[in-house]
């Protein structure tokens, strides 16, 4: 099996930043990324074929991405970079198995940085499987990266800042936004104002978004959520309602939006499959998206050779991911002896400082958009919870009549979490449903044990798995 000095999984902001610092310190870096181009979800690049003619028209996010990507391109010749590469398993003795061009093989790493990002929080409500309903992240990819409008009349529902960004991006390319439905609630404006002081980049973004949305006179409904979607073959109507502070709909406040598209964005869930499979210690933190890996200040996990950085360790966005990635890269360089403790500390200093600055702001923002219990009470008996195996809430409720110890028992009984998505689309909902039924915290239910392969892999490829 091939041995590599530092293996980085995921080439988003955290992974690229880690590689930049590690290479500069003289570490030999190997990188695996699932996409054909570096950038991750947030800084996704245009595929070959598209030509950028006017970078300014693509907005500041694009520019921010290009700055980091070009810094990464400068060192990429010194990186063994494997694109279109699915890392599907973590095994004993520091082995990572991956699939590339339908060939499966393994590397043995000395140090590993996991920077696998996050994905949109799936939220089941009646009608959520209708075509035309997609995640905010999925809609954003179509708009930003393909310049295709997901529909003719788009309703945005959810909580948090991505909604504003997406609305502004849809408007920018000439799309129609029917409204923005925001569940989050600012309980304390003073606290928000104090925490925002100094966050000029993010505040400038927010001001730009609000200006854009205001100018287009888009209805903005605070303290509302989508309670149901209806339609024949695809979404035609979205029913929204006002909610109380626990996001429970107030009867009689329903309104109907006639739309052909609904983009749903209730924040993100960290991609913890690899840190979980590696056996790193995790804890449950609802503010950061659910189960997250425990880390030290240098981004090290409970396993000495495994580090983790960016949104996969708790959702905080690309600015934080970049700082964390740089610290992780430097920490690995130090543990490998490429940097002295003093040198590493010096180079980490600016990133630590910027992390400390954003910490308070993040906490306040996270608290505003933190999903409240009502969000996971929208599903009805016949609402699909598991999209893959078509398992509805009613079937889960039946199982709950019996004694259930942890979430893996439900997995074994119903086959939930064993379909192609491997539980990514249903785990958070199931945790919430079972926790509510048993009147305990989701933290007491554990998580779905990730099993290899982490994503569907052709059996023929596994049969030919080569241990180079």
């Amino acid at each position: 099996m091939k041995e590599v000095e530092l293996l980085i999984i995921g080439a988003g902001p955290a992974g690229m930043s880690a590689a930049i610092e590690a290479v500069k310190a003289g570490v030999k870096v190997t990188m695996l990324d699932e996409n054909s181009l570096a950038g991750g979800q947030i800084f996704r690049q245009f595929h070959d074929g598209f030509h950028v003619t006017d970078p300014k028209a693509l907005g500041h996010d694009y520019k921010r991405g290009q700055t980091l990507i070009s810094e990464f391109e400068d060192i990429k010749n010194d990186v063994e970079y494997l694109d279109a590469c699915l890392s599907w398993g973590f095994f004993e003795n520091n082995e990572i198995a991956f699939l590339r061009n339908e060939n499966s093989q393994s590397f043995r790493f000395h140090k590993l940085i996991i920077s696998t990002g996050a994905y949109d929080r799936p939220v089941p409500f009646p009608g959520w499987t209708l075509p035309g309903i997609l995640t905010a992240g999925g809609a954003q990819r179509l708009v930003k990266n393909q310049q295709v409008l997901p529909g003719e009349n788009i309703l945005l529902v959810g909580s948090g800042p991505l909604q504003l960004a997406l609305a502004s991006q849809i408007l920018k390319i000439g799309g129609k936004v029917a409204g923005i439905v925001e569940a989050g609630r600012v309980e304390n404006w003073g606290e928000l104002a104090r925490a925002s002081w100094g966050q000029w980049t993010l505040l400038a973004d927010a001001a730009h978004y609000f200006w854009k949305i205001g100018k287009a006179r888009i209805p903005f409904l605070r303290n509302h959520i989508i309670v149901e979607a209806r339609g024949n073959g695809q979404v035609e109507e979205a029913i929204i309602a006002e909610v109380d502070k626990n996001w429970r709909p107030k009867p009689g406040t329903e309104k109907v939006f006639k739309v052909d598209t609904v983009a749903v964005g209730y924040g993100f869930i960290p991609s913890t499959e690899l840190t979980q499979m590696a056996g790193c210690q995790h804890r449950y933190d609802p503010l950061l998206g659910g189960w997250i890996v425990d880390r030290m200040e240098n981004m090290g996990t409970s396993l000495p050779d495994v580090f983790a950085a960016g949104d996969c360790t708790g959702v905080a966005g690309s600015l934080v991911a970049t700082d964390e990635g740089r610290i992780a890269g430097l920490a690995v360089a130090q543990t490998l002896g490429n940097l002295t403790k003093q040198e590493a500390r010096q180079r980490m200093h600016p990133y630590r400082k910027s992390l400390a600055r954003s910490k308070k702001f993040r906490k306040v923002m996270d608290a505003i958009s933190l999903p409240r219990p009502g969000l996971y009470e929208l599903a009805q008996k016949d609402t699909m919870i598991c999209r893959c195996r078509e398992i509805a809430l009613g079937e889960i409720q039946e199982i709950l009549q019996e004694e259930i110890k942890d979430i893996n028992e439900i997995k074994r009984r119903l086959g939930i979490g064993m379909g192609p998505c491997q539980g990514r689309m249903c785990e958070s909902a199931i945790l919430a449903i079972v926790a509510k039924h048993k009147k305990i915290s989701p933290a007491d239910l554990g998580f779905l044990n990730p099993r290899p392969p982490l994503k569907p892999v052709l059996l023929s490829a596994l049969a030919d798995h080569t241990q180079l």
Binding site: E34, D54, L58, T129, G137, G138, Q234, E390, R424
Partner: protein, 103 residues
């Protein structure tokens, strides 16, 4: 339904044709199959095994597998992760999805 493509600050690649359930659909180099289908107003990418429900693109980033279609003869291929190629054959997964269990 009109074309949903835009060009703001970019130019699209060469135009090409793909076949969707036997029908010709225009696409452009650099697009994903999901984007090309969305641009042409198509939203149902498959039907489910148990209840025969229509499904389209949901997560859009390769995780949920709701957009799986038969692409160039390979079943259960994610339309959101696959780029168009001239003449590629795309089929709605509308028959019982037997291969799912083998994934």
């Amino acid at each position: 339904m009109g074309d949903r493509r835009v060009e703001k600050g970019i130019k699209r690649g060469q135009s090409l044709e793909i076949q969707v359930d036997g029908e010709k659909v225009t696409a452009f180099q650099g697009e994903t199959i999901a984007a090309a289908l969305t641009a042409s107003g198509r939203r149902t990418f498959r039907r489910t095994k148990k209840k025969n429900e229509p499904r389209g693109m949901y997560c859009g980033i390769g995780l949920c597998f709701e957009c799986r279609m038969e692409i160039n003869g390979v079943p259960n291929t994610r339309a959101c992760q696959t780029l168009v190629t001239p003449g590629c054959q795309v089929k709605t997964n509308d028959r019982p999805d037997q291969t799912e269990d083998e994934l």
